[in-house]
Amino acid sequence: MSDSGLGPDLSDVFGLSSAGGEPELIQLLTPEGERVDHPEFSFDLDDEAIKGFYRDLVLTRRIDTEATALQRQGELGIWASLLGQEAAQIGSGRALRDQDFAFPTYREHAVAWCRGIDPLHLLGLFRGVDMGGWDPLADKFNLYTIVIGAQTLHATGYAMGLQRDGVIGTGDPDRDAAVIAYFGDGATSQGDVNEAFIWASVFTAPVVFFCQNNQWAISEPIERQSKIPLYQRALGFGFPGLRVDGNDVLAVYAVTQAALQRAREGSGPTFVEAYTYRMGAHTTSDDPTRYRVSEELEHWKARDPIERVKAYLTRNGAADEDYYAAIEEEAEELAVRLRKGCLELPDPSPLGIFDQVYEETTPELQIQREQFAAYLSSFEAAPGTHQGALS
């Protein structure tokens, strides 16, 4: 333990660096698929685990492609693509233990996958049948939070709850828990996020702030949010920050795993900046050709998070064409299931919304519900009185 109480290794290694220059990335697998060593972090699982990651990466990308297609065909209102960010999400999501809790934004489809959430629930949200059909408490995966940054405070509060429940620092791997808060580069400008840093810091809350720096907040480049590398902000708040190659699933796993463990042990928050790239549009409503150049895309294509894993597995004879073909087939089956399931998602009942507002509903709201029910049934009784959306 250093005197500052920040924990020995991370803060000592990742002190302030200069604002400019090439980003210092923690990397364990190069874009060419070669394993490299890092003095502080290592990936300790075997090739079977890496094959599992490969499967995760391919399947979650397939979910994304199918969702985009469904939106194009009018079956979803909108879709926020995770294209390019699969490794950041799978690496961090797979580092979670059952008892850990994740707070996502609206783009964490691959983290949802790691938490065992049926992707159909994600489609439901973007189709507009509900606001996320899973159980955030039971699944330990919060509902998607669309208001930028708000969830970082929720994550911190949840972590403070863990502290008070005595489920950190016991040394029992099945008991000690941590929280991970996902957010984007743009979100780091929000007051809520900065307040979350302060709270987590002064209360030594067991939370990992996992920022996917995908270089863009809709049309605004990272330079509009920060003059220094984001991970360096952490030090000013009093906890370690580090920057990992967000397209390297092994490094993301190793770094997140270490940060989570640090939290579980009671050493407080860590900021992990996963340096990555939003390969697609912000959402299906967006047109990135208005604000960024295609060379940038080419640069990042060469750093694709899936290709490097495949290259590694192939080079080492850990997987062959049959394996890849089997994963492709599984991906196609998943896509077919999602498409069918999406089209079959039942629309919500207009009257049901009244029952969801309060734990203990109010007489006023009940009256509104009854009046609306009577109004709706007046159309069934006398069809065609007025034309309109209800028929």
Binding site: Q190, I218, D347, I353
Partner: protein
């Protein structure tokens, strides 16, 4: 005369205001290079530069808080909030600072800030993108609140709002952004803080603003088919209210229905109903009725058409008023 959309109307109005006064600034998320997610500020950064059309960091409290300082320095910031549901991080700055500065400084400090908010539903969006928060602001002393409903008003009202020395929350009905109207720049605009009869009628008065004006007009046409003559008033100004034409209309028709997307409870309709009953009590043939969103959070988009007041719900209220 040129046919323009509402988005274009506001865009042209912003451009004219920036041409007329170098102190006018535009600030917000994605307003510069992208031209805003609805393209309302399209082309402005290119023509007026990055100093006057500012892509801000992603922080609404920051947008409004710095607008206060810029206003103190003599600038006239026009702040864009990307969607209605994202104004709340700025709410403290708006309510506690923007709204009160004139009062606190005994009139020494002016706050000529315009806060543009695309509002309302009907676009199939996810949460927080379809809300109608106007009552929060109309309830706040020190703010003025207006809502445009068509391209021509969009063009003029934004210029008038920018020219005003008071802070104005300026609501734009996002689902009407692409509706067209003919702009005749030689026709003088109405006063910003005035309501307007947009359809004359004799049997009942329907009061609406923003996205619901079109709905009210459609209801008036449908009602005419059934032999009912509906007068429609576009409120345009929500705070202050312009009660004179409203009172005149209700004295004529004896019946009033207020329509908005916002939840009915303590919405604009509540205040308007109270004022009508105070001033037109002996002219009323029926209680003032309100048609609005239900007192629930905005629902998932697959049922938003049921949630939102539509032609049928307006007609139903007119029928109930007539049957009273």
């Amino acid at each position: 005369m040129t046919a323009i959309t509402l988005a274009k109307g506001v865009n042209l109005g912003l451009r004219a205001a920036m041409d007329a006064d170098p102190k006018v600034l535009i600030m917000g998320e994605d307003v510069g290079k992208l031209g805003g997610v609805f393209r309302v500020t399209d082309g402005l950064q290119k023509d007026f530069g990055e100093d006057r059309v500012i892509d801000t960091p992603l922080a609404e409290s920051g947008i409004l808080g710095t607008a206060v300082g810029l206003a103190m320095r003599g600038y006239r910031p026009v702040c864009e909030i990307q969607f209605d549901g994202f104004v709340y991080p700025a709410y403290d700055q708006i309510v506690s600072q923007v709204a009160k500065f004139h009062f606190r400084s005994r009139g020494l400090v002016k706050m000529p800030i315009v806060i543009r908010i695309p509002f309302g539903g009907g676009i199939g969006a996810v949460e927080h993108h379809s809300e109608s928060p106007e009552a929060y602001f109309a309830h706040t002393a020190g703010l003025k609140v207006v809502a445009c409903s068509n391209p021509i008003d969009g063009y003029w009202m934004i210029q008038q709002a920018i020219a005003s020395d008071d802070p104005i929350v300026f609501f734009e009905p996002k689902r009407r952004y692409w509706e067209k109207g003919d702009l005749d720049e030689s026709a003088p605009p109405d006063d910003l803080f005035s309501s307007r009869v947009v359809q004359e009628g004799t049997d009942a008065t329907v009061l609406a603003y923003g996205p619901m004006v079109k709905t009210a007009l459609e209801a008036a046409i449908a009602a005419a088919d059934e032999g009912t003559s509906v007068e429609v008033i576009d409120l345009r100004t929500l705070s202050p209210l312009d009660m004179t034409p409203i009172h005149a209309s209700v004295r004529k028709t004896g019946r009033a229905v207020v329509v908005h997307e916002a939840p009915v409870t303590l919405g604009l309709g509540s205040e308007i109903a109270a004022r009508i009953s105070e001033e037109c009590f002996y002219s009323l043939e029926a209680p003032v009725l309100r048609v609005g969103g239900f007192d629930t959070p905005y629902p998932p988009s697959r049922i938003e058409e049921e949630y939102l007041p539509d032609l049928d719900r307006v007609l139903d209220a007119v029928d109930r008023s007539l049957a009273y």
